[in-house]
Assembly symmetry: D4
Amino acid sequence: MKKPDVSIVMGSTSDLPVMKLAQELLRKFGVSFETRILSAHRSPDDTTRYAKNAAARDVKVIIAGAGGAAHLAGVIAGNTTLPVIGVPIKTPDLKGIDSLLSIVQMPSGVPVGTMAIGEAGAKNAAIFALEILAVKNPGLRKKLRAFKKELQLAVRKKDKTLKGH
Amino acid sequence: MKKPDVSIVMGSTSDLPVMKLAQELLRKFGVSFETRILSAHRSPDDTTRYAKNAAARDVKVIIAGAGGAAHLAGVIAGNTTLPVIGVPIKTPDLKGIDSLLSIVQMPSGVPVGTMAIGEAGAKNAAIFALEILAVKNPGLRKKLRAFKKELQLAVRKKDKTLKGH
Amino acid sequence: MKKPDVSIVMGSTSDLPVMKLAQELLRKFGVSFETRILSAHRSPDDTTRYAKNAAARDVKVIIAGAGGAAHLAGVIAGNTTLPVIGVPIKTPDLKGIDSLLSIVQMPSGVPVGTMAIGEAGAKNAAIFALEILAVKNPGLRKKLRAFKKELQLAVRKKDKTLKGH
Amino acid sequence: MKKPDVSIVMGSTSDLPVMKLAQELLRKFGVSFETRILSAHRSPDDTTRYAKNAAARDVKVIIAGAGGAAHLAGVIAGNTTLPVIGVPIKTPDLKGIDSLLSIVQMPSGVPVGTMAIGEAGAKNAAIFALEILAVKNPGLRKKLRAFKKELQLAVRKKDKTLKGH
Amino acid sequence: MKKPDVSIVMGSTSDLPVMKLAQELLRKFGVSFETRILSAHRSPDDTTRYAKNAAARDVKVIIAGAGGAAHLAGVIAGNTTLPVIGVPIKTPDLKGIDSLLSIVQMPSGVPVGTMAIGEAGAKNAAIFALEILAVKNPGLRKKLRAFKKELQLAVRKKDKTLKGH
Amino acid sequence: MKKPDVSIVMGSTSDLPVMKLAQELLRKFGVSFETRILSAHRSPDDTTRYAKNAAARDVKVIIAGAGGAAHLAGVIAGNTTLPVIGVPIKTPDLKGIDSLLSIVQMPSGVPVGTMAIGEAGAKNAAIFALEILAVKNPGLRKKLRAFKKELQLAVRKKDKTLKGH
Amino acid sequence: MKKPDVSIVMGSTSDLPVMKLAQELLRKFGVSFETRILSAHRSPDDTTRYAKNAAARDVKVIIAGAGGAAHLAGVIAGNTTLPVIGVPIKTPDLKGIDSLLSIVQMPSGVPVGTMAIGEAGAKNAAIFALEILAVKNPGLRKKLRAFKKELQLAVRKKDKTLKGH
Amino acid sequence: MKKPDVSIVMGSTSDLPVMKLAQELLRKFGVSFETRILSAHRSPDDTTRYAKNAAARDVKVIIAGAGGAAHLAGVIAGNTTLPVIGVPIKTPDLKGIDSLLSIVQMPSGVPVGTMAIGEAGAKNAAIFALEILAVKNPGLRKKLRAFKKELQLAVRKKDKTLKGH
């Protein structure tokens, strides 16, 4: 298997329906990725080992999704100097505001680049990872520009359809 | 040094003015304790090692205070089966609601017994630790009852003073 | 009937679907428990009497679940020196943030070890009770370690399954 | 001493600077009152006894001020059928939103008439108590109307002063 | 028609499914009431006229339910010296926290006795009204005590059923 | 005195330090205005009369600032078809989130154009009033464009200063 | 096509079911409008161009609906001196409190007149636009008065129906 | 002047005391940066032009700090495919929760990597930018590892000092 550039991690398989939106976008851009289930609380040693080894395995960016007292992204960030992108998963009671605050309010020294709660956040995590990879990859930058153009054209098309009515 | 029954941990020395209220209460009850500075994000290996070894060192209860994306208590709880008591430290912006949610909203399997935000929480962490230790310690239970009586009498005294006016 | 080590209390039978998750875990660990319906507001005398007598009946830990202006755990804690674990039940309007704040923000002197809102909180209340009982019970401690190992292996298994795809 | 019509209760002397605003208004209206320090958590028996006996002592209305996990008003309401007015005291961290939710979100069967957080709430608790007493007291009703007129004239006076500039 | 002792007002017929819980309780206690649809924003003159005349019509207590920017209770309270009880109706987006704050945070001089959000609040508004009416009505006080006893017995019965299992 | 185009209303003189920022901007643009103290709760008749007569007095836009259960803007909007702009005043406890929700969450039929909490809101209320007046006033539109240009140049100047360092 | 007086803009076609409530009201009042899909983030150039040209096309008022990090209204307001009315769209996780704060908390100099979250907000945006247009249009003012009267009569009718029961 | 790798942008000079913490860290790591004042609302054209040209000027990462309805980061992200890091600035009323939600809740397609509110966020924005730059820069990666080690040693030193007492 090709060494993955992006590593998607989540705390539980119940996060997969949201996090697979990140997978789909990375696949669309032809960027290699792996997907892992790791828990800051239930499999802490595996999580630490994973985080410590990621850079050596040539992973470039980590995307971590978790909900509630969402410590996964922060714990990984404490064990690597790779950029870690956090996706707050919506919770059944507090609707993800707990996940968001647990991920974004990191102390100085250990950042997590936090995305929106839920599906938009998962998609954007992939795009943000692509933007990071594109820093030294003009081909990928070009693809991102084309994607941005697509977004614009999709809006413009809807705008025209609506105006036609 | 006597082996400590309670271990107080905090993420930063800036938490000490709050957490020392826990120290004072443990001291008052004659229960041995240690105080540690450990960070889930900045010294993760030390934190993990500490948590894994605490039971072997005969620590009975852990009190962990942290603020913001407060992962300390949760990370320790992931690495021990000792009861972990969490104290949310007030933050300058969100006033500790971030700390509270990051500590209390733990996923099933890994509990943290969470106290109030700030000073009341630090004091109560000590009392809760004493209540745990008293489960098999009738002498300590008796002291706790006396303490409860004291609290009651203090209120009653204030009540009488006020009524006198 | 064997004297219960853990006493599960809730304010209303509508809390039972959540609180039974605590029952199941205690049963799994072979720890004796009782379940009570008591209300801080509707049956205050029964609640006070219950709380005052719990220690004498050799109860070791109390788990109290309630929602809204959730005073049950706090009122019990005011009438016993046993450790009281609070489970905030989700409410239909404010989603349990009211229950959480009503349980966790206790004044100094009278702690309640607060768990997450809802189902995770109910399960964790049982585990936290077990951790407290294990303080002087090496057999139970061993079971908790095995349980922790199980959690880890379950995550690891899911991780492997996912990687296989 | 004249039997008090209104009983003002608070959880701690630190609530007195706020609650005295209720005293001042009752005094201004010539309504008899008493002031008590009682804690739902620290002096629960005294609180219960107080609440159970209030009606027999001819108290007509109870005003209860408390902060944080503010159980005082609710616990009193559980032990009396007198109308209980709750005043949420501002807390240093969550600014009284915890106090408010702990007081107002009472379960069906046991109401607490909740006022605004802090000083406005303390003053309004007194006025609300007066409105209750006035239900069968035309003289007091008349005084309340005069007070309302005063409020209106005070606003009108300020309005005129401002317009003059 | 008998002059009503209690007047139930709501801002819209969509509030009726909640507010009818207040009607049912008043009916159960044999207390006369009327029900009105009045809007602080859509029929302000009718609302003002209603509030100004309520005392003259011998209404003793007003219960006002409203949602969102819920001004109904406050506007009525500004036009009468009768006790006004506010019921915050749950909203589809903010779940009633907007209704609650709009009702409870009244400025000094014009109190609204605020109940819980939604159904519990509607029921409790009726009980609170009964408690107010009972101040000078020993017969009603007795009924309220019997009701309180019923609540207690209902909890006790559930408690026994549960213990039997 | 020239008939005012804009009428600034506030619930209390304590709101004046914030609301005077609106006065200053209107003065700067040479638009006539009046300033009133009116309370939805303490002087409801004056408020209603004011609102009903505003259009007849040739007022074009109303700016209403209030805090807490801020009903002033909504009550005025219920009594006029003039555009009403609401300014939520910061409160000492809930920091104005109560004022904001009380003003913005108006029911359908009776809008209030709500501004930011506090000083920015007061300034913007004036600008928004000017934008409304400019709908049929090309001279004022031109001044607003110049003002917008000024804002831009002020930012640009700061940008240049900073780049120079 | 007649030049539109009001321009309704939204960030996505998913906002249309809410925003069409604004269309319906404008249609009912016989006011010309256009509807556009424009995104501050996905079609920023189109949005800027649209905003800059709106006044020249004789648009009088802009209504902008958006959800989440809802920048659409603010970005348009930054590029025009026409009054911009913002409608916060409800989000699946945070229920629109994110949309509301992103729209209403504008910095001084660039106001957005913010409406309630969701459907009530969309309807009120239309009415607010009509109120603005009516500033110099007595015919429209008259229609708004009739509409206000209708609202009042509808409430009054419901009130009568209810009283009849 | 060397072409800057990182571009720090803020909406106002009042944000500089916070954002300069990002400058200091970049300086410490020897990474070139520029600092700009640009406003999404007050200088939108400059902001758009800046964002569109940043990649061409060889900027690699953008850090944008703003408060309130903080649209700056989102608007820039809409006009570039460079990674944009958002820093929510604390506001005087809502303490930055408004800034946080306005920055983090971006719609799919246009991510902003969001940091904690205030000073920790500004510092972490710099570190996150360094982590991004380090993706293809082993020398910088090494420096980041040394920095992480420093953080760990600083905690360890404090831990030792405390244990010595």
